[in-house]
Symmetry: C2
Subunit: 432 residues, 2 copies
């Protein structure tokens, strides 16, 4: 299929952050073959009128627990420990594969409707998630949550490695698999060493929660005599490509260590604020040239999977925190939600920007709407004015997953019904 988007505004997120007006974009099969103009000999099978639209790279959600969509609006306005131990953990203790399946369907539907084309997931029963990624057409990097505090660390690690064997590179490369040690506080040093050995064997990356709460930092000091970042460095975990989720509570030395070791960070402002974990020092991370991506975390602490909201939050809160209206300008935040996410997932050679040769993972927004007029600055418009609901069209690997806000690969009404039913079932199961 050869597709041409005509006469549109293109936010490329290339190295020059170019924004092209009255421009065309050509897609052939899975790939972008022209940005600005189509190749001379390009004869499209289909032409989409891009007037009044804006085209940008698909958003990349660098940290989520997809199937927690079933726990949306179930545990709110609670202290972190009550939220986790009294409400969320009792559900997770009773989690079945079918919960994960219906939660994943719902989450993928939500993400596509909000312009997300790729996500980095960590949860349980991940074969179910992989299977839904395969059939829905979205792109994902998947990890099975690993921890050894409950005594079944070996079995979980074996599962995580098996997930890699079964799914890494599947769906014509749309699915990649990494290892997902939950956190330094749920994984013993010995266990993290085992994960490191497996990670080296599989030649894969690591997705881990790091320094999310103030308690985690002080406990790490008490137990290991150093910060979580330093602890993981000492264990040589950063010798594998690592994505650290949260990184809210960092000490001076940590910035240098994350930067030197090429560790990416997923900044998850909605979750950090809602759980009162604080403001991640993103402005300082960026000054240290740390690659900072954006994530939603799970829908139980957000309570949605809307990256446009995270873009908005990231664009606003760091200005107030740093007492500087020039902190995290629009251009920077858009990079965080796109190319930085691709880097964090080690997919930046394939996606994250609109450039010839890359995969056609892109979204179109309808910018002829009252909250988007006038449009003097497309980047500011995306960060400060736009909404997830402005996304009309979503494409992954050259396939259209949503058009005119209609999902093309998923049947929305049955997904909503099944998820609502499954959520009640999960809660009742946990209480019986």
């Amino acid at each position: 299929m050869k597709l041409l988007i005509k006469n549109t505004t293109i936010v490329t997120v290339n190295d020059q952050d170019q924004v092209l007006e009255h421009a065309d974009l050509a897609v052939s099969g899975k790939n972008i073959v022209g940005v600005g103009k189509a190749p001379l000999d390009f004869i499209p099978d289909r032409v989409i009128d891009g007037k009044g639209k804006l085209v940008m790279p698909g958003l990349i959600n660098a940290h989520t627990h997809l199937s927690m969509t079933l726990m949306r609006n179930y545990a709110d306005d609670l202290p972190f420990s009550d939220w986790l131990f009294k409400k969320i953990k009792p559900l997770e203790d009773h989690l079945l594969a079918e919960d994960v399946r219906f939660g994943a369907k719902l989450g993928i539907a939500e993400m596509i409707r909000g312009g997300t084309t790729c996500f980095h997931d960590m949860y349980f029963h991940m074969d179910e998630v992989a299977s839904e990624v395969e059939s829905s057409g979205i792109r994902a990097c998947l990890t099975s949550a690993l921890f050894d505090v409950s005594g079944n660390g070996e079995a979980l690690l074996a599962q995580g490695c098996r997930l890699h064997k079964d799914w890494n590179g599947r769906s014509e490369g749309r699915i990649t698999v990494q290892l997902g040690p939950h956190s330094p506080y749920l994984c013993s040093p010995e266990y993290l060493r085992e994960i490191l050995i497996e990670g080296r064997r599989l030649n894969c990356g690591i997705h881990i929660h790091v320094s999310e709460t103030a308690d985690e930092l002080s406990e790490s000091r008490r137990l290991h005599g150093c910060t979580p970042v330093q602890h993981l460095l000492n264990l040589e975990l950063f010798s594998l490509p690592t994505l650290a989720a949260h990184a809210v509570h960092l000490e001076e030395e940590d910035f240098k260590l994350l930067s030197e070791n090429g560790v990416s960070v997923s900044h998850n402002p909605g979750s950090n604020l809602k759980l009162a974990n604080g403001f991640a020092p993103v402005e300082k991370m960026l000054k240290h040239s740390i690659n900072v991506a954006l994530g939603t975390d799970g829908a139980a602490s957000n309570n949605n999977l809307n990256l446009f909201e995270e873009i908005h939050l990231a664009g606003l809160i760091h200005k107030a925190v740093n007492n500087s209206a020039t902190a995290l300008p629009a251009k920077t935040v858009i990079r965080m939600a796109t190319i930085n996410g691709a880097k964090a997932l080690k997919l930046d050679q394939e996606v994250g920007s609109l450039e010839t040769g890359k995969k056609a993972d892109l979204i179109m927004l309808d910018i002829r709407q009252p909250h988007l007029v006038p449009c003097h600055d497309p980047l500011a418009l995306l960060v400060y004015s736009a909404q997830a609901s402005d996304v009309t069209t979503v494409m992954v690997d050259g396939n259209i997953l949503m058009e005119d806000r209609q999902l093309q690969t998923l049947e929305l009404s049955s997904i909503l019904e099944q998820a609502a039913h499954q959520s009640i079932d999960l809660i009742e199961r946990s209480q019986s």
Copy 2:
């Protein structure tokens, strides 16, 4: 017209914060005549199926400068003084009545589409805004911006009083008019005394910016030897019903003074964050029983008029600022966006909650959407998951202003075209 909404979820925002499920709501003419059940003898002319919908009071935007929509995405990521003096003021120096008219049309269209049924405005050429309020069917409290630093304070005050004479109570009560001294720093003490005399004569309220920036606080100390709040109290301004916009930089004593004098505050988190003015101490205001409403400020510092975004921001940021996940729970934030706004505008006898006898100012949201399923807690859903685009139906004074997301009183495509054109015209005029 007698209208019945059947079998729906009703967030009443009454004194008990009742949420009713499978409930009906009856409207007769301008008024709500039944919440939960219709009156026994009620025979509706029209029935709306409320299944899968949520009904709540229309949102009240307690502080905006509506026609600044024309300056949307025109001046971003700039320090406050550059933003104001290099970009915004040059436009305002060239502002014509037609700019205000087209900006108001655009802003009203945006607000209705986002579930706002009433707003509190302060700007120039306010007859234009009043006229657009009248024809669109929305509700508003209007003030003409008053200041005497430029030497034409008397003329502005005469205009502001004339606006009151011409428009207060018009459109069957949908329009009220107050006086709008811009701020303690743009109004001399003598001028504020004159405004107070006129306000007493007209028996109207006051809308004023107070303690928005750290500079304002330190300048007030230098010039008047006290905080802006204390300065206004000394001038007896609070003897009139007063709405203080922003109130970001308060000192210990100010909380008590605002509370004792019944001053309402419009909290405008999006603007405060974007201009790096800081985090208003809302949790502490609420502890002092200050009535805190929500506002967007103008679209030049936001960059939209989306109260669902302000609800979301208010629900999140104060948890992190106060290091407490229980700060500003969902229930509180919904009150801020509805009944507290009505109190701030002295309209709480008429609107702000869904109760028998009140005006039918209400909105319906479609909650059968992937980001709103499951719905274990309608209040949390509204604050943490919902979007402005979920609003399907908007009613003011019993009249439907939007249905199935289609505006009923405004012609959207011409408004968008005119506003875009007028915005470019304004910029060119300011540069010539």
